[in-house]
């Protein structure tokens, strides 16, 4: 009898020991995939509470959906969205718009000057002309097509007291909306105490603290081959945004045409194959990556010096990798 008691005690002790040694302090991982803004978005949260994590994932779904609906310029919905603003011409002088859209438009307009007139949110038509050919994967627009679509005066977008002037602008928020929504999603998670997360919205990645007191390893896809990673960024509480990645360009007559159109030449930027920006703020990262894509690498290197905590990596047309000074702390 005594023997059995001893055996039981020993086994119990070992079970406790096993639990202590192998208890992975790993938090549970919760994920959700979303499709908005023409992008596959993956949200990962590390948390103890299933209820809290799932509620947060649903809330993030609604944040992205809201930005998707507001910035949608191809379809009507119940909101006064970009489609409505671009296409409707009632006699009201100003349109009341959602404050989120208002703030995003204001952010975009401010970036026009900040980007040395390279980031222009009023060039929907010209973007569509190029998109038609990119979707075909063949041919380029005629100069007539380009000139007809060249309505891109940023001063056409007039904002006042939560309203926008009803004067047929030509808004496309593709260059900034995803980063802006991603920043809001990350900020929301932090505000409710979820600090361990990964938000991956294609070219926009934002991470919080690491789930195991380590650093996140964020691979940067090779713009030539999506099965390859050309560099790994290590860090927490950062945003990594790439412009000019794979599947966002097409080739015609041996020339590469990217999806980012230069508002000055009305042609796709071709200074580089891709540029990746590391920032704290995802909206800044998105705006910066577009801006850097449209200037030479030397100019970009100079340009980013005015921002604190910004680092960039360029993948040149000759398949070389050029890093700004700030990159070393993420390697």
């Amino acid at each position: 009898m005594k023997k059995y008691i001893i055996i039981v005690i020993v086994i119990l002790l070992l079970m406790v020991l096993y639990a202590v040694i192998f208890k992975n302090n790993k938090l549970d991982k919760y994920e959700k995939n979303l499709f908005y803004m023409d992008t596959y978005i993956n949200i990962t949260i590390y948390n103890e509470s299933k209820e809290k994590a799932n509620a947060a994932l649903d809330k993030i779904d609604s944040i992205y959906k809201n930005y998707h609906d507001l910035t949608n310029r191809y379809e009507e919905n119940e909101l006064i969205n970009v489609y409505y603003i671009n296409n409707n011409n009632d006699n009201k002088e100003y349109l009341d718009i959602d404050s989120k859209l208002y703030n995003l438009l204001e952010y975009g307009i401010n970036w026009y000057q900040k980007s040395n007139n390279l980031l222009n949110i009023n060039m929907g038509n010209i973007i569509d002309v190029w998109k038609k050919y990119r979707d075909l994967g063949n041919g380029i627009p005629t100069s007539e097509e380009i000139n007809n679509a060249a309505i891109n005066d940023i001063n056409k977008i007039i904002l006042k007291d939560g309203k926008i002037k009803n004067n047929h602008p030509n808004i496309d928020l593709g260059a900034i909306a995803k980063g802006y929504a991603t920043e809001e999603a990350g900020k929301y998670l932090e505000s409710i105490g979820i600090d361990k997360y990964i938000i991956n919205a294609g070219g926009n990645v934002k991470v919080g603290n690491h789930y195991a007191a380590d650093k996140y390893k964020i691979g940067i896809e090779n713009p030539e081959d999506p099965s390859k990673i050309y560099m790994v960024i290590k860090g927490n509480n950062i945003s990594v945004v790439t412009s000019g990645g794979y599947q966002r360009f097409y080739e015609y007559n041996g020339k590469r045409y990217s999806h980012i159109i230069d508002p000055n030449t009305l042609y796709p930027g071709n200074y580089m194959k891709s540029v990746t920006v590391i920032t704290k703020d995802s909206s800044l990262g998105d705006a910066l990556s577009t801006t850097l894509f449209l200037m030479s690498i030397q100019d970009g290197m100079e340009y980013i010096k005015q921002f604190d905590d910004v680092a960039a990596i360029w993948y040149t047309n000759d398949n070389e990798i050029i890093k700004s000074k700030g990159i070393s702390k993420y390697e």
């Binding site: 055996i7 020993v10 596959y40 993956n42 990962t44 926009n204 990645v205 099965s227 990673i229 990746t276």
Partner: protein, 119 residues
């Protein structure tokens, strides 16, 4: 405590150690699995170590997948541009096949090295 008690303790310790050892060895076995999502629901988990063909229901119809040499691809699906069939085989954890028209996503899972990838 007499001798036979100690023997018992030692032998049960040994047994537990062996169990732990076996678990440890199998834990490190790095079998990759392809997770197939329809929207947000996991509709299939496919072991990439077995060569085979699989089918799931996509939005536009059947999506046919093929596993070969630890890699997976979409072989056939109904969509306007067939982007995901043209993508070919994937095998790394950072690779994803996205069939937007069919609302199908295929991701690879394993002992991940990278946490995420910016595209």
């Amino acid at each position: 405590m007499n001798k036979s008690d100690i023997k018992l303790i030692v032998s049960s310790l040994l047994i537990i150690l062996i169990i732990l050892g076996i678990r440890f060895i199998f834990r490190n076995k790095n079998n990759k699995v392809a997770i197939v999502y329809y929207e947000n629901k996991i509709v299939s988990k496919i072991d990439l170590s077995i060569n085979n063909e699989y089918t799931v229901d996509g939005y536009n119809g059947k999506v046919y997948m093929e596993v070969k040499d630890n890699k997976i691809r979409v072989k056939e699906e109904v969509s306007p541009k067939h982007i995901c069939s043209y993508q070919g085989f994937i095998s790394e954890t950072y690779e994803t096949i996205v069939c937007l028209p069919n609302k199908i996503i295929i991701k690879i899972e394993a002992n991940e090295e990278l946490d995420t990838v910016v595209r």
